[in-house]
């Protein structure tokens, strides 16, 4: 039962996370160049190609950082805000890179890169804590399942949010020349829908897994704890989004806005609820 924590190793992990941030910043620059060039020349892809190599490398470096943090703490690396953030960023990047193989989702590279860069920046500058043991309330295999699937859902929702933004920009006529190079509105709507759909299913799973765990830990499967409330709100918002997509006059821009509202709730649930709301899910570690 005696856990050995390794703070020096955690500092090494921090180095890797910081290096990954540097690489992400480079990738972000390359993707921005790409967008700037794309405006004049639709066949341009040099910056983009290098950008994706750098993004891949950054994901690998971040992966090593996350793994070392887990080894340093002797458990899964997702038990406080700092760890949620680095593992979450890794998951978003992984979901995105794998999605590239399945669908043409290159267009939201800037969004995904920028979003993970900001998340990591918040992690190292605001959320960092030394490695600690798990409090008894978190010592459960549900920590592995429930939290991992929640983070995975965020990955899907994030990619979808990128497409919502692109969709709304194009529909509003912003950066007209550049947006012409982006896929058709219909195509972007469809991709966002697919990602939100998968996110909704995994989010439903996380909600159920959380309820099972809550029954084991707190004697009730649902008690309207602040985190439970927001998990529910997010679920209902995305359920609303799915209905909107099937309702005449509500798909298109309105649905895209709804998807963005849903994603804002996801971010709110992570940042504001974790840090400022009172409740049983007080695991920020800060």
């Amino acid at each position: 039962m005696n856990v050995v924590l390794n703070e020096p190793l955690s500092q090494v992990s921090l180095l890797f996370v910081s290096a990954a941030m540097g690489l992400l910043a480079v990738a972000l620059l390359l993707f921005s160049f790409q967008l700037a060039k794309l405006k004049d020349d639709p066949s341009e892809s040099r910056f983009e190609k290098i950008g994706f190599w750098v993004l891949g490398l950054s994901t690998v470096v971040l992966g090593i950082g996350v793994m070392l943090r887990g080894i340093a703490a002797n458990r899964v690396p997702w038990a406080n805000m700092y760890e949620f953030s680095i593992t979450g960023s890794l998951t978003i990047l992984t979901v995105y890179l794998i999605s590239l193989k399945v669908r043409d989702v290159r267009y939201v590279a800037t969004f995904v890169t920028g979003f993970t860069l900001i998340t990591l920046f918040a992690a190292v500058s605001l959320f960092y804590v030394e490695v600690k043991t798990l409090m008894p309330a978190l010592q459960s295999y549900w920590l592995v399942i429930h939290v991992m699937v929640a983070i995975l859902s965020v990955g899907f929702f994030a990619v979808a949010a990128g497409f919502h933004i692109a969709y709304l920009s194009k529909a509003a006529g912003w950066a007209r020349v550049l947006m012409q190079r982006f896929p058709e509105l219909k195509v972007m709507e469809r991709i966002a829908y697919r990602f939100n759909m998968v996110g909704f299913v995994t989010w439903s799973f996380t909600l159920i897994a959380g309820a099972i765990w809550a029954e084991r830990a707190w004697h009730r499967y649902w008690g309207w704890d602040t985190k439970e409330v927001w998990t529910f709100i997010i679920w209902v918002l995305y359920a609303g989004y799915l209905h909107a997509m099937a309702t005449r006059g509500w798909n298109g821009k309105r649905a895209a806005w709804l998807g963005l509202v849903g994603f804002s709730a996801v971010i709110f649930n992570f940042v504001v609820v974790n840090l400022f709301f009172k409740g049983l899910h007080v695991y920020s570690g800060l």
Binding site: V4, E130, K132, P136, Y193, I208, H219
Partner: protein, 500 residues
């Protein structure tokens, strides 16, 4: 005249029902539900945080009264929140029931009548030649379609499981709601503090607090007894940044269901399964064992006293009331420091949560404790306003300080007190909710069926041969970017297999 009167009478309810069951209304109600849930996370809720509500009333009484009138401390049982979800579920039933009938009919009847004008369908190809329609049917069947030869055409459809999944999902949600309601009604939760050595017997009188659901009856409590034999708390003493962090709480208890008595362990996240209830470890603290001898030399109190932890290093506050002491009743407010350290101010603090160097300090009062008037008093608080101070930091005598095994005379010959040892206590929740199992089952069904509903595509395909002309057409429910490609593939296969 009569008929127009009757139709106007039935117009509004019908109009209302049509509105309620429309998708737009469902969407609106969903968004309202999300919005209405927010205040429950902004204000403390009686169900989740009753103490927070009490504090809110203490701090801002006027605002609290207004919020309370709006049921903002009971959001999830409030009239307005309930109204939204009841309307939502009414809308759901109104939407799902007719669709069920339509879907059952579709399942029974098979593919629809081939439409006259196939050119209008979202995917369409035309060829010349002739096909063996029976072979066409077989090709479609091999592709997972339900297919039927209808005169000069074949009508085929697949993806019925999409609508089945959709309908099962919504029905399962309804079943979840019913299970939550019924289960909550029959459920109960009780709390009890058990000092090492204490025995809990499962009847209403043994609970410190008990909150039953509205349909609960006492007969639901299955008789059993639970003796807390031992309670260990393990803290980290090894990793520097982590010192004093709890690593494990382990309660060892003997559970006796009337037939067999067996010793079992339970811990956080690992409740003990007792007959008809689960026992959850929810809190811990120290119970110093104290003996008070009064001024006449008689033992007026002896036993463990439950102290409430005040900080993460388990500085604990306890109140000892000795109403049987003579000549005067004795009351004490006491602090227990598991590992004591002295601050610069001279006050004590605890620097580690395990009893490595324990110290007990006591402020002593005498006078009428107010226990004989029959008014229930908080056992964890002592009202000292009408008591005479015997010993305290600013009193006539310094506070009593005791280490385990020590005895001290109380000033003024009112008696003596000894600190015999330290036991731990566990706060346990004893809870049962028969609905939980069903909620889980229906939630799992909902999860599986939503995957079907979202991932399967509903497609109709028609092939017609008329006057040396072959027409292929397909239609999908909803947006389907692959429809044309799928039809092209089927067409190629049919051309290969069924050409005459």
């Amino acid at each position: 005249m009569t008929s127009s009167f009757r139709s106007s009478l039935s117009f509004w309810p019908r109009w209302f029902w049509r509105q309620l069951t429309s998708m737009r209304t469902a969407l609106f109600l969903l968004l309202m539900l999300a919005l209405a849930a927010i205040p429950g996370s902004l204000y403390p809720q009686r169900s989740a945080d009753p103490n927070g509500v009490r504090l809110f009333f203490d701090e801002r009484a006027e605002l609290a009264a207004v919020l309370d009138a709006l049921q903002l401390f009971d959001v999830y049982t409030s009239v307005w929140f309930s109204a939204i979800y009841i309307l939502l579920f009414a809308s759901l039933i109104g939407c799902v029931l007719p669709r069920m009938r339509v879907h059952l009919n579709a399942l029974r009847r098979g593919p629809v009548q081939t439409p006259e004008n196939l050119k209008r369908m979202s995917a369409y190809f035309a060829e010349t030649g002739k096909l063996d329609l029976e072979k066409v049917r077989k090709v479609l069947k091999a592709n997972g379609f339900r297919a039927e030869v209808q005169g000069d055409s074949v009508s085929a459809e697949k993806g019925y499981a999409k609508e089945t999944g959709n309908l099962v999902f919504h029905s399962a949600l309804l079943a979840v709601l019913v299970s939550v309601g019924v289960g909550g009604g029959l459920s109960f939760t009780g709390q009890r503090v058990l000092v090492e050595g204490d025995t809990f017997v499962n009847n209403l009188a043994s609970y410190d607090s008990f909150s039953p659901g509205p349909f609960f009856n006492e007969g639901e409590l299955t008789p059993f007894s639970l003796k807390l034999d031992n309670f260990d708390v393990i803290y980290d003493l090894r990793n520097r940044a982590n010192i004093g962090q709890p690593i494990d709480f382990v309660a060892t208890a003997t559970l006796d269901d009337g037939n067999v008595a067996a010793q079992q362990e339970f811990r956080v996240n690992n409740p003990l399964a007792a007959p008809g209830a689960n026992i959850y470890l929810t809190g811990n603290g120290f119970a110093p064992v104290i003996t008070v001898t009064d001024g006449t030399g008689v033992v007026a109190y002896s036993g463990p006293v439950v102290y409430l932890p005040q900080d993460s290093n388990m500085t604990s506050l306890g109140v000892i009331k000795v109403p049987d002491a003579l000549p005067e009743q004795i009351g004490m407010i006491s602090f227990f420091y598991p590992t004591v350290a002295e601050l610069e101010s001279g006050a004590y603090t605890s620097i580690y949560p395990d009893p490595i160097d324990p110290l007990l300090t006591l402020n002593v009062y005498t006078g009428d404790l107010g226990l004989d008037s029959g008014i229930p008093r908080n056992v964890y608080a002592l009202d000292t306003t009408h008591l005479e101070v015997v010993a305290s930091r600013n009193g006539p005598n310094p506070p009593i300080e005791l280490r385990p095994g020590e005895t001290a005379e109380l000033p003024g010959g009112i008696g003596s007190i000894s600190f015999d040892g330290v036991l731990r206590y566990a706060s346990v929740d004893i809870a049962w909710n028969p609905g939980g199992f069903w909620v889980l089952i229906f939630a799992a069904i909902a999860l599986v069926s939503i995957v079907f509903s979202l991932s399967i595509r509903r497609r109709r395909v028609w092939v017609r041969v008329r006057d040396e002309k072959i027409e292929y057409a397909a239609l999908a429910r909803g947006d389907d970017e692959h429809l044309e490609a799928v039809l092209a593939e089927i067409k190629d296969e049919i051309e290969k297999e069924a050409r005459v």
